[in-house]
Amino acid sequence: MDNSLAGKTALVTGGSRGIGKAIARALYGAGARVLIAAREPKSLIRAAKDIGEVICVPADVRKDVKKLFRYVDRLDVLVNNAGGMEHRRGFEETGLAAWKSTFELNLFSAVEVTRAALPHLRKSRGCIVNIASDVGRRPFGMGPDYCAAKAALINLTRYLAAELAPIRVNAVCPGPVVTGPWGREAVRKAAARTLAGRTGTPEEVASAVLFAVKCGYLNGAVCGVDGGAVRTP
C-alpha cells in the first residue's frame, strides 16, 4: 500500500465531485489527511462517504477563504481545483460581467486560497498543484474568458514556482473529462479532439496530481493529461 503521504495534510478545493473528488481520493489513498472544500454540504457528505475519513469544509472559495484553514494546524499540499465554465459564448457576446465572474471563479479564488495557505505551506515546505485546463495551453471553443482565465492560472503557476520556492508549484491541465451531464454528441466531439480517441477519467487526472505532489524536483511544470489533445508546452 502506498503510504508515502502519511503525516501530510492536503486541501482540495472543489473536492466533492468529479476530478476534485478523484484527487482527494488519490491523496487519501497515499496516506494523507485530506480536507475537501465545496459549496454544497450534501455533495461533501456524499464524497466523504465514498472516500473515507476526510474533513469536509463547506465553503465558497470566492468568499470563505478563512474558513478553509479553521480546522487544521498545518498544510502540506494545496490543490486549487475549484473552477468551472459558467457559460459558453463567443467573444462579442461575452460582456465584462461574465469575464469578471469567470476570473473570480477560476483565477482569483486560486490566488486568494494560495495567499491564505502560504504561512502553512512555508512552514511545511509544501507544494501547490493548480488544476488548469488544456484550453489554457491552446484555446479551443470554450469561451474566451474561460480559456484566458486558465491560461492566466498556468502563467501564475510558472511565476510562483520561482517566487515561492522552496514551495513547489505545478499545474495539471486536464483535457475533456466527462464529469457532469454531457450529451452524447458533446462526448463524441470531445473524444475526437484527442489522439486517444476518448475522453479521460478523473482517476487519470488524479494520478498526475499525485505524481506532482510526490516528485520533489517537479516545479513550474505544466502537466498535460489530455489524451494528446494539446501538445504545445
Partner: protein, 237 residues
Amino acid sequence: MRTKVALVTGGSRGIGAAIARTFSEAGYRVAVNYRSSRRDAEAVAKRVGGVAVKGDVRGGADALVAEVVKKLGRLDVLVNNAGVADPQAWTGDLEAVTDEMWHRILDTDLGGTFRCCRAAARVMKKGKIINVTSIPALLGEREGIVYSTAKAGVLGMTKSLAMLLAPRIQVNCMALGSIETGWAEWLSPAMRRSYASAIPVGRFGRPEEAAELALFLAGNDWVTGQTYVLDGGESRV
C-alpha cells in the same frame, strides 16, 4: 508472462540505471541496454533482477529490440535514454563543431531514438515510449549547438509519433534539467553553485526523480504527445 517488460537504453549508469531500478521496484522486468559499459550494465541488471542487453542504437536498434523480446518475451515500455556524453561537443566556438561531431551526436541522440521507436512499435501490442530530452531543446544552449538540435528533434518526433501510433502506444518525453549524473562531475564547485542558484528548489535533481517521472508516464494511458519538464523550476517554460 504477464509481468510487463521495460527496455532502458543507456541503462548502465546515471539516469538510465535509476530508471531500471525504479521500474524493477514497481514490478517490471527490465532490460538494461548498454553499448560499451558491459560490467556496469550487468551489475545494474543483476541488482534489478533483469537482463543486460548489448546494442548500439546507431546501427543495432532492431537487433536490440529483437533480443529483448527473445529474452523476456515481450516489450511494454521503451525508455530512450541513450545519448552521447562528449565534453568536446560542449563549446562556444562554432568552428570547433566539426561535421563528424554533428553527424555522430545527431545519429545517436536523435537517430538512435528514432530507430528504437520504430523497432519497438513493430513489436509492442500496446505500450509506452518515453524519450529523454532536455531543457536546451526548449530554450537553446549557446555551448550545445548539436546537442540542443538533437534534443529539439526528439521533441518534435515525440509528438509526431504520438499521433501516428495512437491509440495503441502513448509517446511522451521528459525534458530534464540539471540532474546529478556524470556531467555534474565536470563542473567546478563554483560552477555547481552558480548552476544550483538558478534553480528555485536550490539543488540538482536526483536520477531517481527522473525515474519517478518515467514511471508515471509508463502508467498513465491518457498522457500522450506531452513534454513533461523536470528541472526544479529552472526554466518555467
